[in-house]
C-alpha cells in the first residue's frame, strides 16, 4: 500500500491543500504543512481506501476523505502536544508544531486543519460525483466521531485519567474514543463512498472497533517490550509516567492473547460482511497485530 501513502501525501502539500485562488496567510499554511508532512503511517487514509476498494468503489473518489482524516488526526496531535496538554517538544524526532511556530500559531493551525478537513470531505462530491446524501453521512459521522462524543471526549477522559484512572473499563473508554473512533470513521467513510449497505457498514464498524482496540493494546505492549531502534522512541514511558495500560491490568501474556482475539474478531467481521474483496482489510488486520513499531 506504499502507493496509497504517496497519493495521500501528495494531497497534503501546502500547494495542493487549497484551491489556487484562496488567500491563506503564508505562516498558517506553512504550520499546517509542517505537521501534515511529518511522516507517520497514514493508517487512517489507508483504511478509507481499503474499505472503499473492498466494496468495489473508486480510489480517486476516496482520496479527498483520506486526506481529510489525516488532517483531523494531525490537528489532534498538534493540540495534544501543546504545553497545556501533554507538553511535548518532539514528535517522531522532529520539533513539535508549537516549538517551531509558537503556541498561538499551533493552536490556529490545529483549528484550521480540523475545519479544512470538512472542506476536503465535500470535495469527494464536488470533484468525483459521490452523491450528496452519502457525503452528508460522512460529514455527520466525522463530526460525531471526532467531536465531544468521540475523539475529543476520549482525550478529555484521558487528561482527567492522568489524575487517577482506576479500572479497565475507563481505559477501554479512552482507547475506544481517543483513537478507535477515527479508525471506525475511516472504514465507514470508505464504505459509504462505495455505496455500502447497512450490513456492510455494520461489518466495517465491527472490524474497526476490534482493530482499533488491538492497535492500542499492541501499542501498550510495544511500550513495555518493543525495540527502541525500530520504534524510534524510548520504551517504558507508560511506566515512567505511571500511565495505566492493558499489561498493567491483565499482564503481558493476557494482553498478547487479547490482541489475537480482537484481530480474530475483526477478521470474522469482514469475512461475514459480503465484500467483493476483503483481502486488503485482512492484510491490514494481520499487519497491525504483528507490527513491531
Amino acid at each position: 500500500m506504499a502507493g496509497v501513502t504517496d497519493l495521500v501525501t501528495a494531497l497534503l502539500t501546502p500547494e495542493k491543500l487549497f484551491p489556487a485562488h484562496w488567500e491563506v496567510p503564508a505562516k498558517l499554511a506553512e504550520a499546517m504543512g509542517y505537521s501534515l508532512l511529518a511522516g507517520g503511517k497514514r493508517l487512517r487514509p489507508l483504511l478509507v481506501i481499503a474499505a472503499c476498494e473492498a466494496l468495489g468503489g473508486s480510489r480517486e473518489a476516496a482520496l479527498p476523505v483520506a486526506a481529510a482524516i489525516e488532517m483531523v488526526h494531525t490537528y489532534s496531535l498538534i493540540h495534544d502536544d501543546l504545553p497545556a496538554m501533554d507538553d511535548d517538544d518532539y514528535r517522531r524526532g522532529r520539533l513539535t508544531n508549537h516549538k517551531v511556530f509558537g503556541e498561538a500559531t499551533a493552536i490556529l493551525a490545529g483549528d484550521a486543519l480540523l475545519t479544512h478537513a470538512f472542506y476536503s470531505v465535500v470535495q469527494s462530491s464536488r470533484a468525483h460525483g459521490v452523491p450528496a446524501e452519502r457525503v452528508l453521512s460522512i460529514v455527520e459521522d466525522l463530526a460525531e466521531m471526532a467531536g465531544p462524543r468521540g475523539m475529543v471526549g476520549g482525550q478529555t477522559a484521558d487528561m482527567d485519567g492522568e489524575q487517577g484512572l482506576t479500572d479497565l473499563d475507563s481505559l477501554k473508554y479512552i482507547h475506544l474514543h481517543k483513537t478507535g473512533d477515527l479508525i471506525v470513521f475511516s472504514l465507514l467513510a470508505g464504505g459509504r463512498i462505495a455505496g455500502a449497505d447497512e450490513r456492510q457498514l455494520e461489518a466495517l464498524r465491527r472490524f474497526g472497533v476490534n482493530i482499533g482496540l488491538a492497535f492500542q493494546v499492541q501499542d501498550d505492549i510495544l511500550d513495555l517490550v518493543g525495540d527502541e531502534g525500530k520504534l524510534g522512541k524510548k520504551t517504558g514511558s507508560d511506566v515512567r509516567q505511571q500511565k495505566v495500560t492493558y499489561p498493567y491490568f491483565i499482564g503481558l501474556e493476557e494482553s498478547r492473547r487479547e490482541v489475537e482475539r480482537l484481530t480474530g474478531e475483526a477478521k470474522d467481521a469482514v469475512l461475514d460482511g459480503g465484500f467483493s474483496d476483503a483481502s486488503r482489510l485482512l492484510e491490514i488486520a494481520e499487519y497491525l497485530m504483528s507490527r513491531d513499531h
Copy 2:
C-alpha cells in the same frame, strides 16, 4: 427578534446539545455550555433566520444551522482568550473559559464546539428535510469561511499584525475575514436553506460583506467615543493596546461616513435581491449602524 434569541439559546443548553444516547464527559459538556450560555447578541443566528425568512423559508429548518454558527463563534472566542493568544481573564463580565476550567479543557471545549457545529448543520437535513445538496453547500461554505481562508486566516493575520500592521488594506483583510466571513456565511446559509437562487445568494453575500465591515468600523468608533455603561467595558482599549483602527487611518468623521456608506450599500443589495420580504434584513442593517453597544 427577541424570540429568535431565546429559540437559539434553548438549543445551546448542555441537555439539548447532544442526542440523548451520547456519552459525553460531564466536564467537557459543562465547559461547552458555560461559554455558549454566556450571553451575547446572537447576531449570527439572527442573520441565518432573517435570510431564510426573507426568502419564505421555514424558521424551524434554519435553527440547527443558527445554533451551529453560534458554536463556531463561541469556539473562536474561547481559543482567542487563551493565554497564548489574547490572554483575557474576563469576557462580558464573566471569567473566561480557561480561567474556570483550565487551559487543557478550554482548548478541548473549543475543538468540540467547532466539530459539533458541523453535526448540528447536518441536522437541518435529518430533522427538517432540507435537501442534502443544499446542506452540503452549507458545510462547504462553513469550512471555507471559518477555516484557513476565512476566520482562522483573519485571526492569524490579526495576531501577526499586533507586531506592526501598517496599512488600511491589511486592516480590511483582518476585518473581512476575522469577523466578516462568519456574517456572510450566516446569510448564505439562511438563503440556501430556503432554496435561494444564484442572484439571491449574490445579494446576500453583498449585504453580508457590507454590514460585516460596517459592524467592525462601528466597533472601532465605539471603542473611541462609546458610553462605557452601555458597552459594559472600558473604552480606549484599542488606543492603549496600540491597535490600528479605522479612525486611526481615516479619522472619526470619515469613519462615521464609512459606516453610513457601507450600510447604504448593504440596503441596496437586499433591495435588488428579489426577496419576498426584505424588511427584517433592512432593520438589522439599520440597527447595526445606529447601535451604541
